[in-house]
């Protein structure tokens, strides 16, 4: 019984920490990653991917302005990155890198105050 209590307590604490960590990376105005760094990391993914011959162009085919903030939120929260291609390169990214890329997409989404141009 005592063992069960300890295990439940640990699970509860783990859940609480994970929950707060998830919220800590997303402020009231979107994700709190580094969008400038995210832009570079995102482009770097495609450079590496093109170098490996998986895609033809070094330039990413998807732009933040292709979707709304809500749509990006959904994609990044559910981690459905299939449309991006270059799966191996995406899998190799750290959580921080993904958060930075998410911030870049969110902050420059089509309905954001500063939608991404083609640059």
């Amino acid at each position: 019984m005592f063992k069960k209590c300890i295990i439940s307590l640990i699970v509860l604490m783990f859940t609480m920490v994970s929950f707060s960590a998830a919220f800590a990376s997303e402020g009231s105005e979107g994700p709190l990653g580094n969008d400038r760094k995210g832009k570079y990391t995102y482009r770097k993914v495609y450079k590496a991917c093109a170098a490996a011959g998986e895609v033809e162009s070094e330039s990413p085919k998807i732009s933040p302005a292709d979707k709304t903030m809500g749509q990006w939120k959904n994609i990044f929260e559910t981690k459905t990155f299939n449309d991006f291609g270059c799966q191996e390169n995406w899998a190799a990214l750290s959580d921080t890198d993904v958060l930075d890329i998410y911030s870049y997409f969110y902050n420059h989404a089509s309905d954001s105050p500063t939608p991404a141009t083609c640059k």
Binding site: N34, R36, K37, K39, Y40, T41, R43, K44, H108, P113, T114, A116, K119
Partner: protein
Amino acid sequence: MKTKKIARFILALIFGLVLTTGCTATKPAKIAETDTQDMSWMYHDIVDAEFVAEHLSIPMPENVMLIDARPYKGKYVKGHIPGAVNIPFSEFDKKIALLPADKNTLLIYYCEGLKCKLSHKSAKKAEKMGYTNVKVYAKGYPEWVSQKGHYAAVSAEQVARQIDENTAMIIDSRPQKTKFNKGHIPTAVNIPFSQFETLKGKLPRDLDTPIVFYCGGLKCRLSHKSAAKALEMGYTRVTVFAKGYPEWKKIYGAATETLQVKAGEVEGSIDLGLFKSIIANRPESILLIDVRDADEFAKGSFKTAVNIPVEILEPKIKTFADDKPIIFVCSTGARSGEAFYMTQDVRESLKDVFYVEAEIDFKKDGNIEIKAPK
């Protein structure tokens, strides 16, 4: 049979005569040419490059004076034998005070080669004044610079011109922390002689690029040693600004001190107030790189900015000098931010790198409005 032999003999005789006449006709012609030249203008004691080299040292010994008798502006400024003092023949009397008090000092005059009379005339004048040990290096400057391992010294005016026209790489051979960081010639790259082997990669790839080495003045050997190393590496247009930074300071004032950049609130960004102040007061103290596209840059840009669009930036990062802070700029901070992180990734050792996190409006009338991000 006999007739044939006679014919052969006559032919051989004619051939021999022609040859002999040809040879004898050439020799007297040359002698006659020399004989007719009036060589009386030449000074009687001529020395060669080897003699000059034997008596040169940095700093120059007190009992030797190497004197360039050519005009200052057109010739001496652009290049002279290291250690030479300029006393143009036309100003001999005016600059007489530059000659040493000791009349036994070895005076070696030179000018623009065998046809140049200036050094000979100067030597004769000096001898008349009582100098007892006067020589003329008759083949002069043209021979000196053409010899392997030799290089020219240049004056401050020439360095200033090369900086202005962006036609040479200026290398400061002094130590970084104690000298270079406290002040240096604008645009100079620091390759301390003590670190020459490890930092020689900063030198340009093109071996024909003009390079000017300098250090702490006439008594400093670092620039000369560096120049010798550059020549060994195959660089073909090596010069030394022998009077170095003290002379530069005297003529052009204290030069750029290395700027300490204050970071802004956002990672990698420069403090906006500081950036505005730099642009207004000392734009040459930073390497400002505008990473927008060429067409945007053409419509308006900071005066001192160089344009390297972010798409083609990566391979160029390794060529950046690290002697002054590098600031990336664009119109919003997006591309300059990308450039900052690219530099961090590609060349981590480059520490003094920042970008401008701001909205920058390059207006048609030339004005530039810099606004903090919302």
